[in-house]
């Protein structure tokens, strides 16, 4: 696993989408290959063109929260091989 932390090595990242974001993306989950050490923010920038057009609005950093491996995280966190990244639109439970 240490190798996956070296920038430049290939890393499989699982992106998860919820609620409106999942509908915009047309799926709940995407498996993507990136270079290890990519930040979540960069991952988001690269994802935008891949998901449906209406999603671009809702994927903004200031609206969507981020989790890495099911823990709330910051947009400049670096991603490693096997990470699960959750894109969390504004919550509306209760």
């Amino acid at each position: 696993m240490a190798a996956s932390l070296v920038p430049g090595c290939a890393a499989m990242i699982k992106a998860r989408f919820f609620a409106q974001l999942a509908e915009d993306a047309g799926c709940d989950t995407l498996e993507l290959e990136f270079k290890a050490g990519v930040t979540a923010r960069k991952l988001l920038d690269e994802l935008e063109p891949r998901i449906a057009a209406p999603g671009i609005d809702t994927l903004r950093h200031d609206v969507v929260l981020l989790s890495i491996n099911q823990v709330m995280a910051e947009w400049d966190a670096e991603l490693s091989d096997g990470d699960e990244v959750g894109f969390l639109p504004p919550f509306s439970g209760g």
């Binding site: 989790s67 099911q70 639109p89 509306s92």
Partner: protein
């Protein structure tokens, strides 16, 4: 001792009250909140909501709810609490969420229950879709819920 559950099944308010009362003998106050599926988009509105669909991030929600309850207990010491949040499809008038808090005196029980509700609505990985005469739409975070949650933030935490 606190109990937190995320489930599709309905809950029995009387049974949850009795169970909490047993776990909190000696407490002087129990506050119980239940959220129900409203059958209208707005009170008095002709347009009706048929059901809601509650999605969540399985693997995160339980832990986030536990953290919210722990946070409430730090701020407003109480004896015991129960939180049950349902997910899945819930039709109008069904129960969505239960928050029950037992404390020595009523102030902490009221504050903790309100704090937990405000945070459940704004900080837990739960999303609500309303389905009714307006079609299907995911509900964004309400400004009123954002404001309700903001009142618990200490001035030094705002930045």
């Amino acid at each position: 001792m606190n109990v937190i559950r995320i489930q599709t099944d309905d809950f029995d308010v009387g049974a949850e009250y009795d169970a909490l009362r047993q776990r909190a003998l000696g407490a002087g106050a129990i506050v119980q909140f239940v959220g129900l599926v409203r059958d209208r988009y707005q009170a008095g509105d002709a347009e009706k909501i048929d059901y809601i669909e509650l999605q969540h991030y399985d693997g995160m929600t339980q832990r986030l709810c536990e953290e919210i309850v722990d946070d409430a207990q730090q701020r407003f010491p109480f004896v015991a609490a129960t939180v049950v949040h349902r997910v899945g499809r819930l039709s109008a008038d069904q129960q969505i969420v239960l928050v029950t808090v037992a404390s020595q005196h009523r102030g902490n029980a009221f504050n903790a229950a309100q704090f937990i509700m405000d945070y459940l609505k704004t900080r837990a990985t739960l999303w609500k879709k309303e389905v009714g005469s307006r079609g299907e739409q995911w509900v964004g975070m309400k400004q009123s819920d954002r404001a309700a949650a903001a009142r618990w933030v200490e001035p030094e935490q705002i930045n």
